[in-house]
């Protein structure tokens, strides 16, 4: 316990050089990714390049119906995963494609033949997620076709019933009926109606290589370690599959490979960095949506890009994970997003769990003390 105060420094808060903090005498500049989703074309070259270079196994051939995302997020067998989000609003500087098109009329007309048309929001809402009555047939079919729901089905809080009813039958990236209306719900866009606008967000997700990496801190074997580049890597020859890191990651990145038992995640191509090579995904990205480099430089570049986008009217552009003061001390891999993080499946305000570890130990000590005292107290008392 006495050692704890010293620890807290590297458990939470600003930390400019995690590699030095981890004991490297004279580490190279910290490396990282800046993923600019405003120029992502969703080609998935990053996913394929990553798998090719790192020999990551195939992750299930099933249609998920989440727009063009058939990867279903990061996992032991997907270290890059491109998210696709379709929304009925334009990107700040885009004009409305369907403005005044027949579709505008369509939606009016649809308003009349609601509820079938789905513009009776309450009737619609009552159906959402429960999949009743429209949803279930599809749900069932989706199950038989794609091997069941893995992970909270449905969308928004509409997910709750499905999730609670314990439909988790397949792998995390297993197919599922997703209750499509939920995908954006609820996304208040009071100024939009009709089929005037549509935008399609794409974002290549990856391990964040946190400054304060919970997965690394909680690993009992030392299999997870901090590299000289400030990245976080699993040593597959050491990992014994205790699975602690899986529960510790605030981003849901690292996971255990079913058949193999060990935990796997992005290494930021540690082997390539050693050879002064760009990581496979960044190398393969055609539009420089994935940018690799020294973290400090990337952070400046990202801020300039954000500013530039605001100047041209894309006021929804925001950076995610770039702030060294945030709950994980800043991400080694951070993003420029065009909507709130949770829309991309990212936690809005993640905090490394070990922030509270000292306090946890203190409460543990207290509880242990109480047990001793309680026992002593119980011991005193006359024999009946």
């Amino acid at each position: 316990m006495a050692a704890l105060p010293d620890l807290t420094a590297s458990l939470y808060g600003r930390l400019d050089d995690p590699a030095r903090d981890a004991g490297y005498a004279d580490p190279p500049p910290r490396k990282g990714f800046f993923t600019d989703t405003s120029v992502c074309i969703g080609c998935k070259a990053c996913e394929v390049a990553c798998k090719e270079w790192n020999a990551v196994p195939e992750d299930g051939i099933d249609l998920l119906g989440m727009s063009y995302d058939n990867t279903g997020g990061l996992g032991a067998d997907s270290w890059r995963a491109v998210a696709f989000i379709e929304q009925s609003r334009p990107v700040g500087n885009q004009s409305a494609p369907y403005a005044g098109a027949a579709t505008g009329g369509t939606s009016q007309q649809l308003q009349q033949d609601a509820p079938a048309a789905g513009f009776d929001a309450f009737a619609e809402a009552a159906r959402l997620g429960t999949g009743v009555p429209g949803g279930h047939p599809v749900a069932d079919r989706a199950h038989e076709n794609t091997g069941g729901c893995g992970g909270g089905c449905g969308g928004g809080s509409a997910a709750a019933p499905a999730a609670r009813s314990g439909e988790q039958t397949g792998g995390r990236t297993g197919g599922q009926f997703l209750g499509m209306p939920g995908m954006l719900a609820p996304a208040p866009l009071p100024d939009r109606d009709g089929r005037q606008d549509v935008r399609w967000l794409m974002m290549s997700n990856v391990c964040k290589h946190c400054t304060h990496a919970a997965c690394l801190d909680v690993c009992p074997t030392g299999a997870l370690f901090r590299t000289e580049f400030g990245t976080v890597v699993v040593q597959e020859d050491v990992c014994n599959g205790c699975g602690y890191c899986v529960s510790a990651c605030p981003y849901g990145v690292i996971d255990k490979r079913e058949d193999d038992g060990r935990a796997w995640k992005c290494t930021l191509c540690y082997d390539r960095l050693g050879e002064d090579e760009t990581p496979a995904c960044a190398k393969a990205c055609p539009t420089e949506s994935i940018q690799f480099g020294d973290l400090d430089e990337l952070r400046e570049r990202a801020e300039r890009r954000r500013q530039q986008l605001h100047d041209v009217g894309v006021t929804e552009a925001r950076l995610y994970g770039e702030d060294p003061e945030d709950g994980v001390g800043g991400d080694g891999a951070f993003f420029l997003l065009l909507d709130e993080p949770e829309v991309y499946g990212l936690p809005p305000d993640p905090v490394v769990t070990t922030r509270d570890l000292p306090s946890m130990y203190k409460h543990m000590a207290a509880a242990a003390g109480f047990m001793l005292l309680g026992t002593v107290a119980a011991a005193l008392g006359r024999r009946s």
């Binding site: 208040p188 509270d356 509880a367 119980a378």
Partner: protein, 384 residues
């Protein structure tokens, strides 16, 4: 000349021949919810902004009658989990129980030792050894690579509660074992070298037992930190209460074992300790179930909810029964005391199961991650 597709007669799928006219939806067929922007618009129409919720909206979102807080509105990526659900299986819940039981027993064993309640001491030491043995088995069995369990000993990491726990267990285990083995001393002949051993066995057992009793509280409470030091919302948030829930539950379990196995005459302190443990466990659990808003919800829903309710009743009843037994005639007292012991044990077991499952549930629905973080974020933004 131009087609009027929307104006054809209904089509009975799969009915061949000339009367088979392709057309629109058969009456009984419900129209599926559309996706994308349409969904967003429905939500616009129905929900308005995040802050004013329509009552129908709330009705829909009322996922469960037990919900203590109405489901909050939030956005997510197709309702998918943000976090990875823990890969730990029920073995870990069993481990929580057996570890606590072992600790409780070892502590009461000392009491019995001091007070010369030989029968009780023997029963408790044996139970303690069995329980800690089971604990070790459950821990190893849950590894992805059990053959590599020894990698746990390659490092000692205070930032990894699992590492800390490993060392606690490897101290407690042998001591508890030694204490139990010492009980065999009584079977040795009076004379010769065995006689010598027989004489040493008693004091040795007491020393070992005392050692176990001192490490016991750590064994019983570190598991609380093990769970709390994760990103799992319903494990991390109650990190202050969890050590007391587990500690109290451990004492209750140990006492329960005593009440069940030891003669009534020797289980007075056990009854008192059961009361103390149960009180603290129930008090801490109550806080855990109520103090954390949405994150407390999983403790009320589904299986964990049921488990916890049952646990509460059994623990309370067991504690009461233990006391009551003291004032009953010998035979009735024995029965009541045994029943009370059993219900204390079951209660403790169910508590661990409930906490385990509530945590898992809280990772499968994104709302437990998104809503609290979003609120935290907005609170911060309002502040600044």
């Amino acid at each position: 000349m131009t087609p009027k597709p929307s104006q054809e007669t209904p089509h009975q799928p799969g009915q061949p021949g000339f009367e088979h006219v392709p057309g629109t939806v058969p009456r009984e067929r419900e129209v599926p919810p559309p996706i994308g922007g349409q969904a967003a618009r429905m939500w616009d129409a129905g929900m308005g902004s995040r802050r004013n919720r329509g009552k129908d909206g709330r009705k829909r979102r009322r996922g469960d009658a037990n919900a203590v807080v109405p489901d909050a509105e939030f956005r997510s990526y197709y309702g998918r989990a943000v976090l990875k659900p823990p890969v730990w299986t029920h073995e870990i819940a069993y481990y929580l129980f057996t570890g606590g039981l072992a600790a409780g027993c070892s502590m009461l064993a000392v009491v019995a030792d001091v007070r010369g309640d030989v029968a009780a001491r023997r029963a408790l030491r044996t139970t303690s050894l069995t329980a800690v043995g089971a604990s070790a088995y459950f821990l190893v069995a849950d590894l992805g690579r059990p053959e590599r369990f020894y990698n746990m000993l390659r490092v000692a990491k205070v930032t990894s509660p699992m590492s800390v726990g490993t060392y606690i267990l490897s101290v407690f285990g042998p001591l508890s074992g030694a204490a139990a083995v010492a009980e065999l001393g009584a079977l040795l002949p009076e004379r010769g070298v065995p006689g010598l051993l027989r004489r040493v066995a008693g004091p040795a057992g007491s020393v070992a037992g005392a050692g176990a009793a001192l490490t016991g509280p750590l064994l019983a409470t570190y598991t609380a930190v093990l769970f709390a030091d994760t990103a799992v919302p319903s494990w991390h948030e109650p990190y202050r209460e969890l050590p007391f829930v587990f500690g109290g539950s451990a004492l209750a379990a140990g006492s329960g074992a005593a009440l069940l196995l030891a003669p009534v005459g020797q289980s007075g302190s056990a009854a008192r300790l059961a009361a103390i443990g149960a009180t603290v466990e129930l008090a801490a659990a109550h806080r855990m179930e109520t103090a954390h808003g949405l994150v407390s919800e999983p403790f009320h829903l589904g299986r964990p909810g049921t488990f916890l309710k049952a646990a509460r009743t059994l623990t309370a009843a067991g504690a009461a029964g233990g006391i009551a037994a003291r004032f009953l005639p010998r035979r009735a007292g024995r029965v009541v005391s045994a029943v009370a012991g059993a219900s204390l044990l079951t209660g403790s077991f169910l508590t661990r199961m409930a906490v385990f499952e509530a945590g898992v549930a809280s990772t499968k629905d994104p709302k437990y991650v998104v809503v609290p973080q979003r609120e935290r974020l907005e609170a911060r933004q309002r502040a600044s």
